[in-house]
Structures are given as C-alpha cells and as structure tokens.
Symmetry: C2
Subunit: 298 residues, 2 copies
C-alpha cells in the first residue's frame, strides 16, 4: 500500500526493455502510485543495474519469462521490429487476465503479431506514447516524460473493456492524454506527421550538402530554421529504418502526396503565377495557425 | 564625436524602410558608434515616429531623396521586389562616393537593378544579413539582432575596395560575421537552405491536413518535431512569395534535387532494402553532425 493509503492500480508491473521509454514508465508508475512493484528485464545487465539505481525498476528479472510471471501489466518496450520476439519469449508465462501492451511507433504489424503469438486469456492493447527526446537510454529517463504527451491506444473490436479501462487509467495517471484509434488510422497519421518529416530532414540535408559543395558556403548561411527543420535527423538511424520498414506502404503514399505539393510550388514558380504562389504560402500559414491555436485551446 | 572620443565609421547613415532589419541596423549603428546620425524614411509616418521613439533613427526624412542627400551610407531595407523602386527614388540625390547597400534575401536581381539604376560615382554592394525573427516591424527591432549572424556581402569585380572595406567594418561592428560571395553562389545557397525549407514546411502542412481529414486525429499526434519543422510557415506569405519569385530558377532546381532524394527513400521502402534505408538515414545524421560540429568550432 502506498503512503497515501490507496492501493496502486496494478500490483506488479513488468517492463521488457528498460530504456528511455520503459525506464520513464517505471518511474512514472512508482511516482503516481500506479504499480506496487516494477520488475524489469533486458539484455544488458549493466543497464538494468543502472535502472535499479535510478529507481526506474525495483527488481531485475533474469529472463523475460521470470519478468512477467507475476505481472498484472506488461509493457513491452523493445524496438519495433523485436517486439514479436519479446511476445514469443513471454507468451507461455503470462498470467490469466494480464494486460500486455507495447510502445512501438507503428501499430498494424504489432497488433497482428500479438493476435498470432499471445495466448487467449491475456489482453493485448497496442500503445504508442508520443513522447521522447533525441536522447535514448535509461540514463535519460524521467517520470514526467509523458506529461501532456499524446498516448495512443489501439484496441480492437474484441478487446476486453475492463482491460482497456485500466490501461487508460494508467495513461491518465502518468499525465498523458489518451487517444483511442484503430491501428490503420494511427499508422496513417504518424506516416504524415512523424515518419515523413524524418525522411524530409534527411533528404534536405543531402540537398544542402550538394549545394554546399557547389557554393562552398551554403551551410555557413544556414540559420535557425534550417537547424530546426533538420534536428530530427540526429535520431538513431536503425530505429528509423525499423519504424519506416513497418509502415512502408503508407509512408510511400505520403511521399507521393508531398511530391505533388512540391510540384504545385514548382509550377507556380515556373509560370510565374504570383497569385497561386501567394495562395500556397497563405494556406500553409493558415493550416499551421489552425493547428497550434487548437492545441493551445486543448 | 562619440563618448569614447572616437569618430564614428560614417557621419550620416540613411535607412530606407525602417522595419525589423532597418530599425535594428539603426540601433546597432548608434550603439556601436558606427554612425554619427541616422536618418530614416518610410511610407508609414506613425511607424517612423515609433522608430524615433525607440531610438532606431534620429531624424525622420520627408522623402527618400531627403533621406539620402547627406548620407555616407544608405541601407535600402524595403521588401525585395520594391528595392528597385527605392533605387529610382534616391538615384539622383546620392552623394559622390556614397555607399549603397540593401538587405534583400536574394541578390542576383538586385545587383543587376543597382547596376542599371544607380549612378556612377556611388558604390553599390549587395548585402544580406541572415538574421530575423518570425516577428516583423520596428517594434521588435533590437541592436543585438545581428550578433553572430552571418551577413553576406556580394561585391563584384568592379567594386571599390575601400567601400567594401568600410562596409565590412560596419558588419563586423554590429557583431555579425561577414561572408563575401558572388550573387549567384549566394542565391544558390539560400535556395537550398532557406527557400526550399519554406516550401517544404507549407507542403508538409498540406499533406498533414489531408491526413488529419482522413484519420480525424493526425494533428493531435503531432509532436515537437512537426512543430519545429513547420514553424517557418508562420512567416508572412507575401514576403516569401516575393523572395521565391526572385529566385525561381534555382529553387526549382532544388525542388528537383529534393524529389530525387525522396524517390530514393521510396525505392528503398518499396523493395524493401534495409541496408539502403539505413544508409540514407545514416548519411542524413552524418551530414547534420558535421555541419553543427563545424558551427560549434567556428
């Protein structure tokens, strides 16, 4: 029982993969009285010891199986393309009625894998906390990481509503804003607002490098806007490769869509059509102001 | 004579168009003892009175002609497509050996216009201070705006070297980093690192809006990276229309270049070719780290 006398939401919470997200989930669960005890498992022993020292987890499990055997809720926080392997490692040892969730950046593949691999009698609900920093690793974990962040849950038609309600309470409890979406809508959204921007940032850097080779000075002329636009290219390449590979079809659609808009700008420039160019810039500004006024109201 | 007993670099400085840039140049000139007196001219009387109140200029001129008649250095700070008109208004009244410069975001057109319009006996050198904020207007001007900013000068083969040296001293004096470039190299550089990013930001907002219409929630999932990437779309559309129209040919080349990189990502996703995708993200990260390590050393 916690200091304020209330029972925690879950008795035992398991975290498979204790990095920035997994570690922060453990810290938040303890801080906000959402789990009585947090057990962690991962491949790197030194990292797990660091997680205990930072109070991200209470106990180190010697295996994925040992980690989940008493757990009421299991957060699989391994990279998006190793989630299926984690499911296989824990499937046989999950408690009846345990809730299993993940934190992967794409959801269609993982939801399908869960349906295939996890046993009946446990409740899987895909999750995606839209939080993070350019830093990775438990060293950078902190319990407030999810405050005001959007946290998507992707239940399906057959999802147990009590399990969904408990997981939503957890999400609320760590200070995040829960959004329920179907996996396809989620993946389509992140293709446009997250994955495409990463591809743009890398592509723009290539264009700028060629320009710098031609002029000798392009990068010296780069101001804050260029720095802002390309910041996300600092993220770990292997993570973005894997995320993009699990959402390739939808990302390709968004690339085509972007190319069409770029062509519209080009047409307006070639004619030149002043009114059309003005309209294009005005629309961009209008959309942005609508979005960020909306989020201020929220 | 200034308080520290040294003569200012120029006796009289004229500013045609007293907005964020023109006003900040006036403030900086006075702060750093670069001009004995700053005369300002613009179309909006109330704005000029505000400029006097903020000590961006000392005196309001009643016309462009009156503004430049005693000036040793003239900063034409009107929008890029009205610079030629400003040149016409001042051409007949410039002092022999006066230095004329501008602050336009593109340089090829303005340098040509100056050669056509300005009389022999005055020294024109194109300029582009790479400083600014999303805010415009003299209200937001401040003398430190140019500190550590790149300030491009585009002299030509026949430029008087004494005039170039004096203008460089002014640029150094306001705390900026002077880069001498030819107008074409400048325009090519900014096409890649400034104009293309603006077009990208507007295009990405259109793509995201369509996605939001399809899924109902895309914008709610947008995180800091999307906000950073699209910030520049908040800039005034008419300014960006005009800048882009004076650099259309080079911007179209950069759009084509970008499209080719986007197609490379798409190909890697369609195959899918994991190694190629990894290589693309690694290259982007490598370029960015090289650029921003370099700028830290500078």
């Amino acid at each position: 029982m916690s200091q304020d006398g209330k029972e925690p939401l879950f008795n035992t919470m398991a975290v498979i993969g204790v990095g920035l997200i997994g570690g922060s989930l453990g810290m938040a669960a303890k801080r906000f009285n959402l789990a009585g005890r947090v057990v962690g498992y991962g491949r790197n022993r030194a990292n797990l010891e660091e997680a205990v020292r930072l109070e991200a987890i209470d106990t180190i499990a010697e295996s994925a199986r040992e980690c989940v055997i008493d757990a009421d809720i299991i957060f699989v926080c391994t990279p998006v393309r190793t989630v299926a392997q984690s499911f296989r490692e824990i499937a046989a040892d999950l408690k009846e009625d345990a809730i299993v969730t993940d934190v992967g950046s794409t959801k269609r593949t993982i939801v399908e894998q869960a349906a295939e691999i996890l046993p009946d009698g446990v409740h899987f609900i895909g999750g995606h906390p839209m939080a993070g920093t350019e830093k990775s690793g438990v060293t950078f974990a902190f319990p407030e990481l999810f405050r005001k962040a959007t946290y998507v849950l992707t239940p399906q038609e057959n999802t147990n509503l009590l399990a969904l309600s408990k997981l939503s309470s957890f999400v609320d409890g760590i200070g995040a804003c829960c959004e329920v979406m179907d996996p396809l809508a989620h993946d389509k959204s992140v293709a446009a607002i997250s994955h495409l921007p990463h591809i743009i940032a890398s592509s723009l850097l290539e264009v700028a490098q060629q320009s710098d080779r031609d002029t000798g000075k392009s990068f010296r002329l780069a101001a804050g806007s260029f720095k802002d636009l390309t910041r996300i290219a600092d993220s770990p390449p292997e993570i973005w490769r894997d995320i993009c590979l699990t959402n390739a079809d939808l990302i390709c659609e968004e690339i085509d869509e972007l190319s069409q808009w770029l062509e519209q700008f080009k047409s307006a420039l070639v004619v030149p059509d002043e009114q059309e160019l003005m309209k294009l810039f005005e629309q961009g500004k209008h959309i942005r102001q609508t979005v960020y006024l909306r989020s201020k109201r929220a």
